[in-house]
Symmetry: C2
Subunit: 374 residues, 2 copies
């Protein structure tokens, strides 16, 4: 069942029931505006990744600032966005199984929908599903630009698969998916520059080889919050798929800029508000936000504006805080904001966003596309 919202509009932030997923609306809007301003001079489009926010409401706020639509990671997310009125959706991932492909094809009647492939058998399966639905589906070839996960090799393998798509009656070759995930989180600009430099060159080479075969490449998509400033100036990529920039998280805040300082392009806009539920031992307090409320796959959360208090352990429903003798002990009932280590899966733990401005709850938004199913 859907959980009750932990707040009511108008409530003070300290009255929100915990744990709760809180958006600082000023910081969030700053992030939306900043990305739009960064991309405007490049001419490259923003196709923001909705796997971060899972919300048609936020997708529309991105489009209001110039985004051409969204990408998603799975059909369940595409459905929620299309049902919520988003007109242009790319599944930046492979979709396997007849049932899921039928759902995706059905969506193409209410939105422009595209999907990726990295396998000839999959191209045949998408063709069969599209034929069955009586539609034409746009398919991008995913190329492995260094992440070593999905994707055919750039160059001839990609050209061969693109040719197969273009030759399929119910498919349209849409271009290349060329995302390098792990590069996003490399800490220094030099490391990120090398990896994305390679990705750009692999993409450029493949686009050229496609052109030689008469295959145009309307979309070359990729990039994330950590590297979009490189891809967007590459002259090759046409669409940026950044997602986390709307919220930021503790992991992205560990990326460094050219001066060695943490990258400060975006602000922390997403928090898990939590309460101290126990403080029975000196130097230790326990929060009501464990790893069922705040994802720990990219490290523990950090405590917002409370230097000296460190989140040191997470069990299902408990977060352990430790602090030194020079720090005032957090009191039972006190509420603290946590900055999640990783925003996307943290969002997925909750049914509701609580939007806050000037210390008051301004809005409640459902995390409409949450959940492990695809």
């Amino acid at each position: 069942m859907l959980q009750n919202p932990p707040a009511v509009p108008g409530m003070r932030e300290d009255e929100i029931d915990t744990p709760a997923l809180v958006i600082d609306l000023d910081a969030f809007e700053f992030n939306l505006d900043t990305m739009a301003a960064k991309l405007a001079p490049t001419g490259v489009k923003l196709r923001a990744h909705a796997k971060t926010h899972k919300s048609p409401i936020i997708a529309k706020l991105q489009m209001a600032r110039g985004a051409i639509g969204n990408c998603v990671q799975k059909v369940a997310e595409a459905e929620v966005l299309a049902w919520g009125g988003i007109p242009d959706i790319l599944v930046s991932n492979e979709v396997v199984g007849a049932a899921k492909l039928a759902r995706l094809c059905a969506l193409s009647r209410i939105a422009a929908v595209a999907v990726c492939a990295d396998d000839g058998g999959q191209v045949a399966a998408i063709e069969a599903a599209a034929a069955d639905a009586g539609i034409r589906m746009t398919v991008l070839v995913e190329i492995d630009v260094g992440a070593g996960r999905c994707g055919v090799q750039p160059g001839p393998d990609a050209v061969a698969l693109a040719g197969r798509i273009a030759a399929s009656k119910h498919l349209i070759f849409g271009g290349l998916q060329a995302y390098h995930g792990s590069a996003q989180h490399k800490r220094t600009p030099a490391e990120r520059g090398v990896l994305i430099g390679n990705a750009v060159e692999a993409s450029r080479r493949t686009v050229e080889q496609l052109r030689q075969q008469g295959l145009a490449c309307p979309i070359v998509g990729g990039a994330g919050t950590g590297t979009f400033e490189i891809e967007s100036h590459s002259g090759v990529y046409t669409e940026m798929q950044a997602g986390s920039y709307v919220f930021m998280d503790a992991d992205y805040a560990r990326n460094l800029d050219e001066t060695g300082a943490p990258v400060s392009t975006f602000r922390h806009a997403l928090f898990v508000l939590s309460s101290v539920m126990s403080q029975a031992q000196t130097g230790v307090a326990v929060l009501d936000a464990g790893h069922k409320a705040v994802a720990i796959d990219s490290g523990f959360p950090t405590v917002w504006q409370r230097p000296g208090i460190v989140y040191t352990g997470a069990s299902d429903e408990h977060g352990k805080l430790q602090y030194g003798s020079e720090t005032a002990a957090p009191k039972v009932g006190e509420k603290l904001r946590l900055i999640p280590g990783h925003c996307d899966p943290t969002v997925d733990r909750f049914d509701w966003y609580v939007g806050v401005r000037n210390g008051r709850v301004e809005c409640l938004w459902p995390v409409a596309a949450r959940g492990g199913m695809s």
Copy 2:
């Protein structure tokens, strides 16, 4: 929004949409029966922990085999169980905040409800909430028996807090909460024996000191799937709070018995069914189950009955498999069962259980109390 079920009763297992949370019903019922049979001769009661399954349906199956009710970790779980007809519920945890305490007190009109405390201020807050609701609330004192998380120290501190509860007009002193979480996962019987031996002695001493103050201790609760055979024979503990035994997981399967072999008391009954979505590189395949579908806080999942295939990496929506040249490559579209590293948070990722027997879907049950809120 609630997600669509990934299956329909009668369907073959290989037709289930993925990723899906699958229960092997034969193994699951074996586990329920085994726990009942293990505890029957001890006279100790089972108050199974519903934080594992989050389901009034499964809670009732436990009660049909002799469980006296359930424990839960938070008010949101207590609500779903009480609304589903479970008559006796202990929140085996502290509950902080007036709103949550009011919800808990309201539940006591439809079920026997109890809660834990480890702080005098919290006892006052529960008294105020109970008075406001016009009910009497049973409160247990949580003692720290070695886990170093919540709980007052055993002995005089616990006795003082119990006295404060007993002296509160709207509270009933219910006994001791004496759970040692980390002991559950110690690998050798000797390690588990030492830690639980200490927990038993701390509990015994505290019960005796309470008796000397005229305070009876109707409940001494604790134990989990890893150690319940020790506590249930201790002569001190009255209620076992095991939860994971219904499903088992890859982490509990690493516990060893006296012979050095993995403990085989319970069977793996919970799986994440997933599909191979990409197999573009030699030796690597990618599943549609990343850490949004299978919790990795206690290690990666293992692959059921597919020796030679190892789950080596999880991102949000992708699970990376690796295998050697002697192993047949998993094919795109092929479905594999994963044994989750940790069952409780894996269940929390999904809206639906799919119950399977003899290769067919027999039932769909909602994961009714899922979610990060409390």
